[in-house]
């Protein structure tokens, strides 16, 4: 059998990356849903013939997404030119974790042999269900969240299955957009298919297949080495909680234990709370925590490819059916992002427990607000606007300020004003929301909107009010977000986290503040010049500079009063413990 030499291995790696980028670029440029084209909620990748990941994404959100297709359509029944489509969360065991994400996959054949899959998924604007946009924090089962598509063959040997396609178009409120998005995804996986075939033709079947093994090995060795260095044998525990489920239940705690022996790393999440009646359930594919640790371990070596090898970061993942991380059908899932980010934070917590606080602090969950209603012509409208939050600080840098999540972009004010019946009045940093620390947690944002359209209802999705993102190693927790209609007037009305149905009418002002990320290291150790910079840039108030950082700012200048600062820092330095959420604690379990 031909083997892949180390040079060819690198060339195959580069070719895979380029092909993946090309698929994503095509999708981004041609899709029609604003969620795809402006917010960029999509990713492309490759899988091998058994459904193992060959090249994936920096987003630890997805599991083994080809397997459900293979379960329905054994590989010997697949043919060149087929394209498979699904969004069925439960049938894929969380391969897709909420229904708006559509998976498209094209099997790739080389000389009659199935060699892998070109795959792409994207978030569609509307797939029916109880509300325009198919999402609501008030959902009580998955059927309200839109049409469920089991793995189906949308194309058979290159021929569109018109019957199936008509059913889908009949199940969206915006068929024109769905048609455009389907075309875009189809073109993307077709392109991916072509590039895959070209690669096999260039290097030869056996060489490429051996190359895939080599690349997996390379990543596996990299992450295993890194994690072994982080985790000494022992047992580590951490817990964090989602505030609530939107229906009045909560907090909902995710508990993980990490058991490390000389040759094995296992995660046990069975002590996590029961599933929620509301839609914050996160049907977590076991690949997700593996990927979180994998991506974390890969941060030091950008040359590694994200593939099946990264899954070897963790040897075993134990989940409990009926829990928040493994809900039973047909529990609602559409706000699972909140729980996913908490899960990521719990993984970070484990890293911190094991390393004595040398890992990243907790991040906030990306926030969204939705507006829905009916146009004068009787047609429904729906718009969603993602808003950046603060991310956790690191042992070497501040947390990201005003970032949503990987690769997703905001709606520019000039886009909002043109496209939506609203006017963006302001968009700034949410001062003092970042957790104080030697390295400051990222700050959230404040987005202020004036509603200009017909009567509508709004929903706000944010988290971390009752349980703000924690700080570590002396770093402190973040401050939370808030949503409010007509703030500061006698009509002021707060829109609670995960509330839906708040009425808005023309002229109303909506102020949406998002929360920050946790800090890292003792805030009294932050250089005073950096604190001054934060004050000047409106990231930190003068009051907070004093109270949180022990830095006295003289308003004239403004400049640092070094003598007063030194005294304050010397005499009033609060003693710290490993974690902080509103107060310092030794552990979070």
């Amino acid at each position: 059998m031909t083997t892949c030499d180390p040079i060819t291995l690198e060339i195959i790696k580069g070719t895979l990356r380029a092909a993946q980028l090309e698929m994503e670029a095509l999708l981004e440029r041609t899709a029609m849903s604003p969620v795809i084209r402006e917010k960029k909620d999509f990713f492309a990748g490759y899988f091998d013939a058994q459904g193992q990941l060959i090249t994936g994404t920096n987003l630890p959100l997805f599991g083994h997404i080809i397997q459900p297709i293979l379960d329905q359509y054994p590989s010997q029944t697949m043919q060149s030119g087929d394209i498979y489509w699904y969004n069925d969360c439960y049938a894929s065991n969380g391969g897709v974790s909420h229904s708006p994400d559509q998976v498209f996959a094209a099997p790739v054949f080389v000389r009659g042999q199935l060699v892998g899959f070109a795959q792409s998924w994207a978030h569609f604007h509307d797939i029916g269900g109880a509300w325009p946009g198919s999402m609501s924090p008030t959902a009580t089962d998955i059927f309200q969240e839109g049409i469920i598509i089991p793995p189906v063959r949308l194309y058979q040997e290159g021929e569109l299955n018109e019957d199936v396609f008509r059913i889908f178009l009949g199940n969206t409120r915006f068929p024109e957009q769905m048609q455009g998005d389907v075309r875009a995804l189809t073109a993307a996986v077709r392109l991916g298919e072509r590039r895959f075939v070209e690669m096999f033709e260039r290097f030869g079947l056996d060489t490429v297949l051996d190359g895939f093994r080599g690349l997996n090995r390379q990543t596996r060795d990299g992450v295993v080495r890194q994690l072994r260095a982080t985790f000494k044998p022992g047992s580590y525990a951490f817990a964090d909680a989602v505030d609530g489920d939107g229906l009045g239940n909560g907090p909902l705690t995710i508990r993980m234990r990490l058991d490390v022996t000389a040759d094995r790393i296992a995660i046990d999440a069975t002590a996590t709370d029961d599933q929620a009646p509301g839609p914050v359930n996160f049907l977590m594919n076991p690949a997700v925590p593996r990927m979180v640790f994998g991506i974390y371990a890969m941060a030091t070596d950008p040359t590694l490819l994200i593939n099946e090898g990264a899954m070897h970061a963790v040897d075993e993942v134990k989940l409990r059916p009926g829990s928040l991380l493994q809900p039973r059908f047909p529990a609602p899932l559409n706000q699972r992002g909140l729980t996913m980010i908490r899960t990521q934070n719990v993984c970070a917590g484990l890293l911190n427990v094991a390393s004595g606080g040398q890992a990243v602090a907790a991040s906030n969950a990306y926030s969204i607000h939705f507006f829905r209603g009916t146009n004068p012509d009787g047609m429904p409208f729906h718009m969603s606007d993602g808003v950046g939050v603060g991310h956790g600080a690191r042992p070497y840098a501040d947390g990201h300020d005003a970032v949503y999540y990987v690769a997703q972009e905001n709606n520019p004010a000039e886009f909002v004003d043109i496209e939506f019946p609203m006017r963006l009045l302001g968009y700034g940093i949410h001062r003092d929301s970042g957790g104080p620390g030697r390295w400051r947690g990222g700050c959230g944002t404040v987005r202020t909107i004036q509603w200009m359209g017909e009567d509508a209802v709004m929903a706000a999705r944010y988290d971390g009010v009752a349980n703000p993102p924690w700080g570590v190693n002396g770093g402190r927790s973040a401050r939370p977000g808030r949503a409010c209609i007509n703030p500061g007037t006698k009509h002021e009305r707060e829109v609670k986290s995960l509330e839906d149905g708040a009425p808005v009418k023309r002229g109303d002002i909506i102020r949406f503040e998002t929360g920050g990320g946790g800090g890292w290291g003792h805030p009294f150790d932050r250089e005073s010049a950096r604190v001054l910079d934060d004050v000047l840039g409106d990231y930190v108030s003068i009051e907070a500079a004093r109270a949180d950082y022990g830095v006295v700012i003289d308003e004239k200048g403004p400049r640092v009063d070094e003598a007063a600062t030194a005294k304050l820092r010397r005499d009033h330095r609060p003693p710290a413990k490993l974690f902080h959420r509103r107060k310092y604690v030794d552990e979070m379990v």
Binding site: I7, M32, T300, H400, A413
Partner: protein
């Protein structure tokens, strides 16, 4: 008849290249002088003098001085621009800080650090006043706030001021008024308004480009002034024309006002030069690749037309001004080969640069580079620049063996070939981005490799891509200077003019084109272009309804009619299919931006003819052992300067000249045409 000439000057890191065109005799003269980093204008003028001397022409003969500069590029890449301030719409103080609220798609979220903006929020001033997307005033401009901000900016000692208000692409009145008020309070201020720099929607990108414009303005301005002083001192009255990112040149006055136009101009001149050489050899479909020490710049030219994009980036920042669609990657002769912790071989983007340079240069470099691999394999002779520089082959071989070969378990020559394979593959990937990914088959194009290292890689790259013709310019190292010499005057205009299906407002489209045309003609008059030399090209950028990206297609000449619109849309469907594999003729199309390109034709030189040589043997200066995958063999070495017109040679061969080395691989043949262009083709 009086003497007439045009001179082009390209300032590189080490050398300043000058190309002088003697219009009366139709001759081109090259000169090379050391770059003078402390004051580049010294080398600039010394170079002009050297070229005049070589051509026997007086300074008074010069009718045009053409120049490209990387002053703006370097200031932006190195964050070394001037302290600047921004006036923004009230509520948007953090427009730069927030940006598009994303982490780049390929970044690892745990290790990514948000880059520091060129203007910190404490120098961003919020001004009340608001327009709607159609340009109607919703709220009056707060003039007192503008005055107050101007006074505070002055008190800070800041002179560079950018103004970008929401929806100013639709109407410039608030920005213009604010500009007047700032100047009234702060007469020393250099002010740029976004509606002049880039009147198209998306406030973060427009704010950033306006900021970058003032950020580099003082340095570019004083640089231009110095050049003009030097020229004046030598009694050169000719206008100084500067290269822009779009591949055209414009007068120094325009560059002083909009220096950001030069931010990506570095590689543009080379593309123009490649087109010129391609044309001289009868090829209009070209892929140019300029390989220097640290990077490779790649461009696809179709029927003599390099694509223009408005989605470029410079460093961490978006640069939505029209620029030649050049794909730059960190791969060049100085790119370092290294092993990642995982054991994977990487080549670039880290570069040994000019200092310490490759191991073989003996200036302290210890990490093997692409140049070291070429030397180890025998592609380069141990002497460069006509023997003035000696290369240390044993040191290069030892570094490759120690750092790459042994850890990977490969013999040293296989490791050296591996380094080249990886870097070639990176370049092939970058070429695919501009060809295959844009719906073009590279096999329909000829490759033009240039820059110091281009002709070393041309043969291998062409084979990997299935390209059968390689055009090696007469002087590959100075093609950028030649490109400057043959560039046309060019200026681009664009306006956001959103038109939704069913009620396209042809009157408004006509009005917007007319406004831009008026502006363009004023510019052409200012640049002294006679009416017969003026060309105006209209374009519209369209998209399917609900899409987020536009494609620019030509708008037919003549009246703005329904028929013209239909033809424009038909062109859009075809372009969409070509780029993205499908068209959607059943889907409504919307117009987003209207654009206009004004071109002023300058008198261009033609590439001079060279004499017939004394045959191949007369050019042969030796041979060298080359290690290829199939074994070791002696390859003949030819002196490019002695290869006369109509000479044929067969690979394998090494063709040496002062500023580049060309590899002709086994199975390839070379032909020197009567312009001295070396055309390499596959035998089979």
């Amino acid at each position: 008849m009086s003497e007439e000439s045009a001179v082009a000057i390209d300032i590189g890191g080490t050398f300043t290249d000058i190309v002088l065109f003697d219009r009366r005799r139709g001759r081109i003269h090259n000169a090379k002088v050391p770059t003078t980093p402390a004051d580049p204008s010294a080398g600039f003028m010394a170079g002009i003098d050297a070229a005049l001397g070589a051509g026997g022409l007086p300074a008074s003969s010069i009718r045009q001085v053409l120049h490209g500069t990387t002053v703006a590029t370097n200031l932006i890449l190195e964050s070394k621009g001037v302290a600047a301030a921004l006036l923004t719409t009230a509520g948007f103080k953090h427009v730069l800080e927030i940006g598009r609220h994303d982490i780049p798609r390929k970044a690892n979220m745990y290790s990514w650090v948000k880059p520091k903006r060129p203007v910190p929020p404490q120098r961003v001033f919020e001004i009340a006043g608001r327009l709607d997307p159609a340009g109607n005033e919703i709220e009056k401009l707060d003039e007192a706030a503008v005055r107050d901000a101007a006074r505070r900016i002055r008190a800070l000692g800041v002179n560079a001021v950018a103004i970008c208000f929401l929806h100013s692409y639709a109407d410039a009145r608030h920005e213009r008024r604010a500009c007047e008020l700032v100047l009234a309070e702060h007469p020393q201020a250099l002010v740029s308004i976004s509606s002049e720099v880039l009147p198209v929607f998306r406030e973060y990108e427009r704010s950033m480009v306006t900021i970058l414009n003032v950020y580099v303005m003082p340095a570019v301005s004083s640089y231009v002034a110095k050049l003009e002083e030097r020229l004046q001192a030598r009694n050169v009255a000719a206008p100084l024309l500067m290269m822009k990112s779009s591949g055209g040149v414009t007068g120094a006055a325009t560059i002083r006002r909009e220096p950001v136009q030069t931010a990506l101009s570095g590689p543009a001149a080379g593309v123009v030069g490649a087109m010129f050489v391609g044309e001289a050899s009868g090829h209009g479909n070209l892929i140019s690749i300029d390989i220097g020490g640290t990077s490779a710049d790649i461009c696809l030219i179709r029927a003599g037309d390099p694509g223009v994009t408005v989605e470029g980036r410079v460093g961490d920042w978006p640069m939505p001004l029209p620029m030649i669609d050049i794909n730059t990657i960190g791969a060049g002769g100085g790119s370092i080969a290294a092993l990642a912790p995982s054991g994977g071989l990487t080549v670039g983007p880290r570069s040994a640069g000019a200092i310490p340079g490759p191991v073989a240069y003996g200036r302290g470099g210890t990490e093997p580079t692409v140049t070291d691999a070429h030397l180890a394999l025998g592609h380069l002779t141990p002497y460069l620049l006509n023997g003035s520089m000696k290369l240390d082959r044993p040191a290069a071989v030892a570094a490759i063996e120690q750092k790459i070969g042994r850890p990977l378990g490969l013999d040293t020559m296989a490791a050296a070939r591996g380094i080249l394979s990886v870097v070639d593959n990176n370049m092939v990937g970058a070429i695919r981005v501009v060809s295959v990914e844009r719906g073009h088959d590279p096999r329909d194009f000829a490759l033009v490799p240039f820059g110091g290292a281009g002709p070393l890689h041309g043969g291998a790259l062409a084979r990997l891509l299935g390209i059968r013709t390689i055009i090696v310019p007469p002087a590959p190292g100075v093609l950028s200077a030649l490109g400057l010499l043959v560039a046309q005057l060019k200026s681009d205009y664009s306006r956001t003019c959103l038109q939704r299906p069913l009620d396209y407002d042809l009157m408004r489209i006509g009005r917007v084109f007319a406004e831009m045309e008026e502006e363009a003609v004023q510019w052409l008059v200012r640049e002294g272009v006679p009416p017969e030399g003026r060309v105006l090209l209209r374009q519209a950028s369209l998209r399917y309804i609900h899409q987020g990206f536009e494609l620019a297609v030509p708008w037919p000449d003549g009246g703005v009619t329904r028929d013209a619109l239909d033809r424009c849309m038909a062109a859009f469907h075809r372009r969409h299919e070509q780029l993205y594999t499908f068209a959607q003729e059943d889907t409504p199309v919307e117009i987003v931006n209207l654009r206009l390109t004004a071109i002023g034709r300058l008198e261009r030189p033609t590439l001079p003819r060279i004499a017939a040589g004394r045959g191949l043997d007369g050019a042969r200066i030796g041979e060298q052992r080359v290690e290829s995958a199939s074994g070791v063999a002696p390859w003949p070495i030819y002196d490019r300067d002695r290869l006369g017109a109509d000479t044929d040679l067969r690979g394998p061969a090494i063709v040496q000249q002062l500023d580049a080395t060309t590899l002709v691989l086994p199975g390839q043949r070379g032909h020197v045409d009567d312009h001295g262009i070396l055309i390499v083709t596959e035998e089979n």
